[in-house]
C-alpha cells in the first residue's frame, strides 16, 4: 500500500485490499434458513395488511412470509415476483424502514418490525439459486413494443409485456441493462453482480431483445420507434444533474455523486479507485449518503455531507442517515454552498448557514469553510432527452402522444425509488396490453 487515509489529494489505495473488500461486502447479510424461519414466525398475518398497502408494488407480504414459514420459499418468491419482478433487488435497496416495515404492526407494538426486506431477499435468493423463473409467455400476439431505458421501470414493463405475448425491444443508451440498479446503487447493497444476474434472470421469460448503446434522440427517434413498434414505453430516468450554482463549481475535484457511484459500481478493483482525503458531499438524499459512505469505505479521512435544510427534511431516511454517521460521515444541516475555492483544484468549500423561513431559505449571514480535495454534487437529477411531442411540467413528463407511455423517475410520482419504478413499469405494461388487445 502506497497511500493512507492521510495522503493529500485524490488517490487510490488508501486502505489495504482486505479492508476494502470487507468494507464493500454485503451490507445486510442474507438470512440463513433457520433465521428466516424465526423471522417469518414473527409475522401476524394481518388482515388487509398495512405492509401491503405501504408497498408501491403491493406485494402480498403476509402470504409470502407464511410460505417461507411453511418451508416453501420458492412459492414465496412467486408471490413476490407476481407483483414485483425485481423483488430481489428491491429486497436489497428498498428503504423498507419507510415503506413496508414502517407500516408493520409489530413496529407499532414493539418498535421492531418483521424483517420483511430480508425475508423477501431470502425467498428470491433461494428461488433464483434454484434457477426458477415461474412465468411463461402467453401465445405471441404479433405486436411489438419499444421500451426506452433498461432501468427498473423499463425492465418491469418489458417482462409484463412479454408475459402477455408481445415482443419487446429495449433500447438502452448505456453499455449494460439495469439502469440505476446497475449504475446507481451503493456497492454494498448489491454485491456479487446481482443487478446483472437479475436482468439475465428476468430475460428468461423470452421475447425481449435488449439493444445497448442506443440513445433516444441520438440513435433513434420517438417517431422512428412508433413506425417500427405498436407502442412505446419511455423509462428514460433522469439523465442530468443539478448544478450547485456556486462560484468555482468547475474546479478540478468537483464531480457528480451519481458518476462516482456508477464508476465505483463498474470498478473491478476498488483499490485502484481514487478518492479524496477530505470529501464534501452536497445534498440530502440517498445519493448523497451512498457517495459519502462509500468515500469513507474507500479510506477518505474526513467525509462531510452538507444539506441546506434541516435534518428532518433530508430525503435520506433516518436509517440511512444513521448508517452514514455510523460509518464515520459527519452530517451538517442548514448550510448551502456559496463558493468553491482553490487554485485550479478544489481546496475548500465555503458555505452559508441558512434559515428555513416561510419566505424560503434565507442566508443567516454566517459562513464557514470546509477543507476539501473532492466535492460530490448530490442535489438532485434532472430530466433530459425528452422526445418531441412529450409535455413536461415540474421537471417530469406529464403528457405523451398516442401509443406512448412512460414510467419511473422521468414521470411524476417516481419518488426516486426502484420499487416505484417497477410498479409504474408494470402498470404501464398492463395499460399497453389493454390498448393492444383492443386494436
Amino acid at each position: 500500500m502506497t497511500h493512507s487515509p492521510l495522503t493529500p489529494g485524490i488517490v487510490s489505495g488508501r486502505l489495504p485490499a482486505d479492508r476494502i473488500a470487507g468494507n464493500f461486502a454485503d451490507h445486510t447479510p442474507p438470512l440463513d434458513g433457520h433465521e428466516a424461519h424465526v423471522a417469518a414466525d414473527r409475522c401476524y398475518f394481518c388482515h388487509d395488511a398495512p405492509c401491503i398497502t405501504a408497498c408501491p408494488t403491493a406485494i402480498d407480504i403476509p402470504l409470502f412470509i407464511r410460505q417461507i414459514a411453511t418451508g416453501t420459499p420458492e412459492a414465496a418468491a412467486t408471490t413476490i415476483w407476481t407483483q414485483n419482478i425485481l423483488g430481489g433487488m428491491c429486497a436489497r435497496v428498498c428503504p423498507t424502514e419507510t415503506l413496508c416495515e414502517e407500516a408493520c404492526v409489530r413496529e407499532a407494538a414493539e418498535g421492531k418490525p418483521v424483517e420483511i426486506g430480508r425475508l423477501q431477499r431470502f425467498a428470491t435468493d433461494v428461488a433464483m439459486a434454484r434457477g426458477l423463473h415461474p412465468f411463461t409467455r402467453a401465445p405471441r400476439t404479433g405486436k411489438t413494443v419499444a421500451v426506452v431505458g433498461a432501468g427498473p421501470a423499463g425492465l418491469a414493463c418489458a417482462h409484463r409485456l412479454a408475459m402477455h405475448g408481445h415482443d419487446v425491444v429495449i433500447y438502452e443508451r448505456r453499455a449494460k441493462a439495469g439502469g440505476l440498479n446497475e449504475y446507481g446503487i451503493a456497492s454494498y447493497k448489491s454485491t456479487g453482480g446481482f443487478a446483472q444476474k437479475e436482468v439475465d434472470w428476468l430475460l428468461q421469460i423470452g421475447g425481449i431483445t435488449v439493444q445497448t448503446g442506443v440513445e433516444l434522440g441520438r440513435d433513434v427517434t420517438l417517431d422512428g420507434l412508433l413506425e417500427r413498434h405498436d407502442a412505446v414505453f419511455l423509462g428514460i430516468g433522469l439523465g442530468g444533474v443539478n448544478a450547485l450554482r456556486a462560484a468555482g463549481e468547475e474546479k478540478t475535484g468537483v464531480a457528480n455523486a451519481v458518476d462516482f457511484i456508477a464508476e465505483l459500481r463498474q470498478s473491478t478493483d476498488l483499490t485502484t479507485l481514487p478518492v479524496g482525503r477530505d470529501v464534501v458531499v452536497i445534498g440530502g438524499g440517498m445519493t448523497a449518503v451512498d457517495a459519502a459512505v462509500q468515500s469513507k469505505l474507500l479510506g477518505a479521512e474526513n467525509v462531510t455531507i452538507v444539506y441546506r435544510r434541516g435534518q428532518e427534511k433530508m430525503s435520506a431516511s433516518g436509517y440511512e442517515q444513521e448508517h452514514a454517521t455510523a460509518s464515520g460521515v459527519r452530517i451538517i444541516c442548514n448550510a448551502a454552498p456559496v463558493a468553491v475555492h482553490g487554485n485550479g483544484a478544489v481546496r475548500e468549500v465555503e458555505f452559508a448557514y441558512m434559515a428555513d423561513t416561510e419566505a424560503g431559505l434565507v442566508p443567516t449571514g454566517e459562513t464557514f469553510r470546509l477543507k476539501a480535495d473532492q466535492v460530490f454534487k448530490a442535489i438532485g437529477q434532472t430530466l433530459t432527452g425528452v422526445p418531441d411531442g412529450a409535455a413536461v411540467a415540474g421537471g417530469k413528463i406529464t403528457g405523451l402522444p398516442a401509443r406512448v407511455w412512460a414510467g419511473g423517475d422521468c414521470t411524476a410520482g417516481g419518488e426516486d425509488l426502484t420499487v416505484t419504478a417497477v410498479a409504474q413499469g408494470r402498470d404501464a405494461a398492463l395499460a399497453i396490453h389493454a390498448h393492444l388487445s383492443e386494436a
Partner: protein
C-alpha cells in the same frame, strides 16, 4: 417464605417436584445429579422382571414437535423400560437412597401380569429402602404388546387385580400410573382405588406419531424406513393431563384419592395449575430432558414466590383449590353475559380479530376507516376467539354485563344464575312438565 415440603401418601420430599420415571432417572449418575440440582423426588425408571433385560432400538428413540425457533413443544418416545440388569438398578437405588434420605425415591415397576412375578419383584426391591412403588400401567408401546404397560392400564379389572397383589405382598406405598389412552380416565382410577392403591399418577404418554417424512413417507421417529406409535409428552399434552387430573379429583368415586400430576409440567406455573386441580405433587420429564436438571430452581423459586403472594403457608393450601370450580357444562351460568371490548390504545391494528370474527364466527367486529376495529355488541356472542387470536395480551377483554342490563344481542335482561338443567329449551325439562 412458603413451605414447599410435601407429604405425599406418607412420602416426604422437600418440594413437590419429582422427576418422572423416564430416561433421566435410569441410573445412579443421573439421579444423584438430579438430587444435587434440587429435585424433591425421583421415580426410578421402570424395572422389569428378573432375567435378560429388554432391548431398545438402536436408531432414534424420540420424535418431536417444534415451534419456529426450535422450541420443543412436544416429544414422543419409543424407548422401553430400563434395559439395564435388575441387580445393577437395585444396587444403585440403594446407594442413592442411603445418601439422600430427605428425598423421595420411588421405584417404577412393570412385570408380567401374574401374581408370582409381582410378588417376586416386590420381594427383590424391599432391601433398597425406597419410599414406594409406582405401577407402570401406562407405557403405550413395546411393552403393551407383551401384555404389560397400557395393556393392563386399559383394563380396569387388571389394574384392580395387580394393585391388590402389590398391596398384599408389600407394605410400601403404592402409586398406580394411569394411561390416558382410554375413553374415561375415571374408570382405571376407580379400579386402582378398589385395588387398594394409595395414589394414582397421571398421565403417562399418549399414543402418537409426531410427523411423517414427506420424502421417505415414514412416520417419525423413523427406524430403517418404518415408524411406530410412541408416547407423546411435553407442553403439548398439558391440557389433556389437566382435564384428566380434574376428572379424578372431582369424581365422587375417586375424590380424595391422592394424585401425582404428570403431563407437560415445564414451569412452576404448570405445577401450580396441576396442584390447584388436585395433584399433591407433580412429576416432570420432558422439561428436564429439554433443558437439564437446573430448571427445578425456577420451579422452586416461582412456586415459592406465588405461594407467598397468595399467602399460602404450605402446598396443602394450594392443592385442590380449583377443584370445586370444575363443573359440567349443564351447570354453567347461562346468565353470565360478556361482550368483547377492544382497548383502542393497546390495539396495533393487525386485524386478526376482524378476520377471525368475520370469516369464522359471528361478524361481530367492524373494521372502520384507519383500521379501527370495534365490537358490534348486537352480534357479539362472547365466544372469546378475538381474545385468543389477538397478539397483544389484554388488548381485548371480555366485559361482564351487570345484572339487570339488557344484552343488545338477545334483548334479554341479564338475570340471576340459571343453567341448562332448567332451561325451557331443554327437552328433559319439558318432559318433566
Amino acid at each position: 417464605m412458603a413451605d414447599l415440603a410435601t407429604d405425599f401418601i406418607g412420602i416426604k420430599s422437600p418440594n413437590p417436584f419429582w422427576l418422572a420415571s423416564a430416561p433421566p432417572t435410569d441410573k445412579e449418575y443421573n439421579v444423584r445429579r438430579a438430587f444435587e440440582a434440587g429435585w424433591g423426588g425421583v421415580v426410578w425408571k421402570t424395572l422389569g422382571a428378573e432375567g435378560p433385560p429388554v432391548v431398545n432400538v438402536n436408531g432414534p428413540r424420540y420424535g418431536a414437535i417444534w415451534g419456529a425457533d426450535r422450541r420443543l413443544l412436544g416429544l414422543n418416545n419409543i424407548e422401553l423400560i430400563t434395559d439395564r440388569p435388575l441387580e445393577v438398578n437395585l444396587r444403585e437405588i440403594k446407594s442413592v437412597k442411603r445418601d439422600y434420605k430427605d428425598r423421595a425415591l420411588i421405584i417404577s415397576l412393570m412385570v408380567p401380569c401374574d401374581e408370582e412375578s409381582w410378588k417376586d419383584i416386590l420381594h427383590r426391591i424391599e432391601d433398597t429402602e425406597a419410599d414406594g412403588v409406582e405401577l407402570n400401567f401406562g407405557c403405550p408401546h413395546g411393552m403393551a404388546e407383551r401384555g404389560m404397560g397400557s395393556a393392563v392400564g386399559q383394563v380396569p379389572e387388571y389394574i384392580e387385580m395387580v394393585t391388590r397383589w402389590v398391596k398384599t405382598h408389600s407394605r410400601m406405598p403404592c402409586i398406580v400410573k394411569l394411561t390416558p389412552n382410554i375413553s374415561d380416565i375415571r374408570k382405571p382410577a376407580e379400579a386402582a382405588k378398589r385395588g387398594g392403591a394409595d395414589a394414582v399418577s397421571l398421565i403417562n404418554t399418549i399414543n402418537s406419531i409426531t410427523s411423517v417424512n414427506l420424502d421417505s413417507f415414514s412416520p417419525e421417529p423413523m427406524i430403517d424406513g418404518k415408524g411406530t406409535h410412541g408416547g407423546y409428552c411435553g407442553p403439548a399434552v398439558k391440557p389433556i393431563a389437566l382435564n384428566m387430573v380434574a376428572e379424578i379429583a372431582r369424581s365422587a368415586e375417586t375424590r380424595g384419592l391422592p394424585i401425582s400430576g404428570i403431563g407437560g409440567v415445564t414451569t412452576w406455573r404448570d405445577a401450580a395449575e396441576f396442584m390447584a386441580l388436585g395433584a399433591g405433587n407433580v412429576q416432570v420429564c420432558t422439561a428436564a430432558m429439554t433443558y437439564g436438571f437446573k430448571i427445578v430452581q425456577e420451579m422452586i423459586s416461582g412456586l415459592s414466590q406465588y405461594m407467598d403472594e397468595k399467602g399460602f403457608a404450605s402446598t396443602a393450601d394450594l392443592v385442590g383449590r380449583a377443584v370445586p370450580n370444575v363443573t359440567d357444562w349443564q351447570y354453567l351460568n347461562l346468565n353470565y353475559v360478556t361482550k368483547a371490548q377492544i382497548n383502542q390504545d393497546d390495539c396495533i391494528k393487525c386485524g386478526r380479530c376482524y378476520a377471525a370474527c368475520e370469516d369464522t364466527s359471528h361478524q361481530a367486529i367492524a373494521m372502520k376507516p384507519g383500521r379501527v376495529f370495534e365490537v358490534i355488541e348486537e352480534e357479539c356472542v362472547a365466544c372469546n376467539l378475538c381474545v385468543n387470536v389477538c397478539p397483544v395480551e389484554n388488548c381485548i377483554t371480555m366485559v361482564e354485563l351487570p345484572k339487570g342490563a339488557v344484552d343488545p344481542r338477545t334483548g334479554a335482561t341479564v338475570g340471576d344464575y340459571a343453567n341448562w338443567t332448567a332451561h325451557p329449551n331443554n327437552p328433559s325439562v319439558q318432559a318433566a312438565e
